[in-house]
């Protein structure tokens, strides 16, 4: 389907707001990670947000790895911190 319009796609087909809350940025051993929760205890790493190339060699937090929420510092995401 081709829509001939100036409007961006996300304005025409809005995404469910719940989709946005799935992903968040957390600190894991001082490495900023973008995670998505898999179940109540575990989250999957989507992206390493660090600029330090050494962090990308760490197998514990490579994209796709599962990390438990208990290993995250204080369970706070940077977005939540920003809102306070």
């Amino acid at each position: 389907m081709i829509l001939y319009t100036m409007m961006p796609q996300e304005l025409i087909f809005p995404v469910d707001p719940a989709e946005y809350s799935k992903q968040r940025v957390v600190q894991y051993k001082d490495i900023p990670l973008l995670i998505e929760s898999v179940d109540e205890q575990h989250a999957m790493v989507i992206r390493v947000m660090s600029s330090d190339p050494q962090h990308f060699l760490d197998e514990r937090c490579c994209p796709g790895a599962k990390i438990s929420f208990s290993s995250l510092e204080g369970l706070s995401s940077s977005h939540e911190k920003g809102m306070v």
Binding site: E19, Y20, M49, S51, D52, P53, Q54, S71
Partner: protein, 251 residues
Amino acid sequence: MENETTRYESENQEDQQPQKDDKPGASIIEKIQQLGQTNVPQLSNDSKIHCLTIIGQIEGHMTLPPQNKTTKYEHLIPQLVAIEQNPKIEGLIVILNTVGGDVEAGLAISEMIASLSKPTVSIVLGGGHSIGVPIAVSCNYSFIAETATMTIHPIRLTGLVIGVPQTFEYLDKMQERVVNFVIKHSKITEETFKELMFAKGNLTRDIGTNVVGTDAVKSGLIDEVGGIGEALNKLNELIELQKDQHKGLIQ
């Protein structure tokens, strides 16, 4: 000190393992992965060259849905501040593979990179389209892979347009900002850049040009054709040059 930290980390891992093993849902593959996991040697905690990846879309004021791959300025700008502040970091490499995106966010990132006091080298791999162009030229030295492309086109606006003459003027000014930034930070002349920007018949449904690797270098937009090896060599060279200059100042 380093030994202590690695010991602490390995203890931490051991703590986590029994938890996961107890879980009935844990598959055999997961267990094998757990047992077969090796520790990556931790050479040093700080790398002297940091790497910024500009990927997917450059996100502006609106958060794009999570399935989009985006570069967020609220992530990049604090990282750039940290890179500037940390004395252990000596250089920055910017890797681009972007389709472009928000003009103001892109210009903000470009200005931040251009004003860093540390040596910066950019490399365009795949594509550095539209607002990716000012980001690529904002570094001290820029590289492009031979097969990589950059689309140069006029600024477009998506969304509602209220007050057409004013909007047009606003867009024109916005475009001037991009053009000025690019000609200030690269060897391309204003005439050539605008010629590429307003060329007809190159892109479907749009005006502009898609410049590939060597063409980008020929037009003066990018400094050199090369890959990651050349880019890192150049960065190390620039770091040494800056060190020498600092030594000279002290003497």
